[in-house]
Subunit: 480 residues, 2 copies
């Protein structure tokens, strides 16, 4: 290992041994994010924001293709509105940042910075929705929300985060539930096909559902420290908000009915999962489909600098048509330094090109996921690059899937269960009778939380806690 | 005029006679925006938000092409940071919304919801910028800001608005000024080439500059009520913020120097200008380059409904490759109703297609800007549509330019000036000695505000107020 490589590596703690420190170091060194002067609030730097833009672009296309439209609702919510749905305010009030002064004026009513926007969107729906002709309403917005947090970590838990929030209104319960599942499937594709993070998909336990929902669908991923993380949620809100805010429509049969609503979101927290899932001791690892830079080209000038320089530029131009390419032709850094920097920043493919390569009509390709350096002929290189990007994408997913599968165990006795949680074996699958008391008992005894009941659940055996026949399968884990 | 058309029109007040009511009616009826339960805060509805997305897309491409990158900085700014630059806090403090409680906790220091983000971005620059190698820093963010307003109007003046804010740091004064002008030119192209709003470009009077800037560049448009509106600004901040926040770099000569900074923005206020500029008594008018829907196709079913329906669908599919097309095949509305709705929503081109058109291999085109209905052969229709969209784009700009030119007058005596302002003739051009007292005198006497000193100023004659030789040309107007 070169001195330069050592210098880089020694600044990044070991992922296996010092996972939390490794995570923070990667966030900071890869310039994804930074701490701000406001406690608990982060700054998202351009390289991190580019990941968010990639997520936005991908999702927005699917949202539009499924009939959704984008709007924007106010940042502030009057306290009275937040209180209209009882469970909702109870769930969110402890985390609200309150505006009490506007200019020199003391406000008569406190205004909440939105922790989520149901309470400011529903009054608008009550105004806009009159007839069955106005339904369904399929709105979303891209915005930031604030939830006051005591302990925070870059991307994973911050007092402000970016997200989208979808809010839809429907004529029937079935249609609303179908909407939740449509969105859940879009999220699943984002996670698995784009971010290369395999997940368990299903429903939350009632104790873990969104405040004000009838039920919550969730996507749960397993991080390398074998803790679960909630990657996205889709809430079936029934008529709770419709009744609290009076959102009614005149149906074809000329009677007034309450609508059925949903809400759903993924946030910049996803970027935290992405960092944890694929990085290593050299830094970040990015699946090509989300990588802001997919291919970096590093010229190694040698004696024939000009020739190499122009060959590298020509290659960048050419590959720019099939991939997101960066030509790193900075003079103030050595090639070795650049190799390390781009590895640390997780660029999937590196192409080195020196005088001998120019002469041979080739370039040397290195995959971020490892393996041999391999010479690639310039003739037909587009296909090789595309195939290699696909390979790296697949490799990240395959690795992560093997990890998830290898860290999902079943427990039929409390001893097995406790041991699995204590050893941090990841997800522990067990039977549940759906009684809250049984869930509480397990949680108290083991410190694990119920994560997800699979979508296509076929419960087997008995409840781990009470021994009655299981009516659900529940995956438990320690969690973020 | 059909009964349906009358019904539509009677709901929109006359633009010429009741301009403010006309404006609000168009915002609401075209579903661009709505009032929210929070005083002074608006809801941007999807059709209005689509205009913003169009502006974002266009600008973002140019920002990226000129080396800018996007990030995200916290919503909240500690009061102590806001106070670091004296002029800045003095300018913004009266309009700040203050967060004083987080969850159950009373905050030790108030947090401002950002009215603009210099005070939260500069401390990060102080941390990130060490060496000349780190410069220039060319960041921007897309976000919302809050400025507490007493009297508000949809889009034009709201307590929260969406914008981008660019914040750049440079090694030299010249480079910072050049950055301001680069951005100003991008804004000019957006205004004139995309939104079809002609503008005067130049500098603000010192009394009207951004709080904390050395000088402010501005783009000023003239609305049909002959009031000026500031459409965008680009601020040269000199070293004011660099010194207040200690943003220094080690130069090549091994000495520490303060950076030179800029900031710049356009906001959703632009959408207000767009609505005012091109609408008429039938509603909104949208230049094709910004129109979310450029072509609407309305089938007129008649006896051969199925044939017409499939011909309309085929046409929509075909034109979808060259334009943003909407097929309005809703059964619950009549063609006449649809014509009026899409005119009210400002769609540049309407294509009607009925049984006789199908038989003749044609469609009937109607431009939103007026003129005859004209049959268009389906053969080669793509070129006709593209040319017609260009025509409509040009027509909007030409009309608006004629209006601006026709409402810009010169005044060499105070009587001429007063008369021009009283008669609302628009911009009044005059000589100025650059003394604040002279500006104040004119403002007090006429109620007009100084809008812009042209970029390529060649002052002539004398100062309108004191009679000394003019050192600048100033355009005055009543303004939004």
């Amino acid at each position: 290992m070169s001195t330069e490589a050592q210098a880089f590596v020694k600044e990044i703690p070991s992922k296996a041994d010092q996972f939390p420190d490794w995570y923070t170091a990667v966030c900071l060194k890869a310039e994804l994010a930074d701490y701000s002067p406001v406690r608990g609030f982060m700054v998202i730097r351009p390289y991190g924001y580019a990941l968010w833009e990639g997520i936005q672009r991908w999702l927005d296309e699917r949202f539009k293709a499924t009939g959704h439209v984008t709007g924007y609702f106010p940042l502030l919510v009057p306290e009275g509105y937040l209180k209209k749905e009882a469970e909702h305010v109870e769930g969110f009030a402890p985390q609200v940042a309150w505006v009490t002064q506007g200019g020199d004026e003391e406000l008569a009513e406190r205004l909440a910075i939105r922790p989520t926007s149901e309470a400011i969107i529903m009054p608008m729906y009550a105004k806009w929705i009159q007839s069955y002709r106005d339904l369904p309403v399929l709105y979303l917005q891209w915005n930031s929300v604030v939830r006051w947090e005591k302990a925070t970590r870059l991307f994973l838990r911050t007092s402000e985060f970016l997200w989208h929030e979808g809010h839809t209104a429907h004529m029937s319960s079935e249609e609303a539930d179908r909407e939740c599942l449509t969105i859940l499937e879009i999220y699943r594709q984002l996670l698995e096909d784009v971010l290369a993070i395999p997940i368990l998909v299903g429903r939350k336990s009632p104790s873990e559902k969104f405040a004000g929902a009838d039920w919550t669908y969730t996507l749960e991923a397993l991080m390398p420290d074998r803790q679960a993380i909630q990657a996205g949620t889709s809430h079936y809100l029934g008529q709770n908000f419709a009744k609290a805010f009076g959102v009614k429509y005149l149906d074809r049969d000329n009677t007034e009915k309450f609508v059925w609503t949903t809400s759903w979101a993924v946030s910049t927290r996803l970027i935290g999962s992405l960092i944890m899932a694929h990085g290593d001791d050299r830094g970040l690892g990015l699946p090509p489909r989300i990588a802001p830079i997919q291919v970096v080209i590093v010229p190694i000038l040698g004696k024939e600098g000009d020739k190499v320089r122009s060959a590298a530029a020509a290659l960048a131009e050419r590959l720019g048509k099939v991939a997101r390419v960066r030509l790193d032709d900075r003079d103030e850094y050595t090639p070795g330094w650049k190799f390390n920097e781009w590895e640390m920043r997780g660029v999937p493919l590196r192409l080195e090109i020196g005088p001998r390569d120019v002469a041979a009509g080739q370039t040397v390709m290195v995959k971020r996921t490892g393996g041999e350096k391999s010479p690639v002929k310039l003739d037909g290189i587009e296909q090789v690059i595309q195939r290699s990007l696909d390979d790296v994408q697949r490799q990240y997913f395959t690795q992560a899937k093997a990890f998830l599968d290898g860290h999902t165990v079943s427990a039929t006795t409390m001893d097995q269960f406790e041991e699995a949680i204590r050893d941090r074996r990841g997800f522990v699958k067990t039977g549940w009778c759906q009684a809250q008391a049984c869930e509480d008992a397990i949680r108290t005894r083991t410190g694990a939380s119920p994560r997800v009941i699979p979508l296509d659940d076929k419960p087997q055996g008995v409840c781990l806690s009470c021994g009655k026949p299981a009516t659900a399968t529940m995956y438990y884990a320690r969690a973020y």
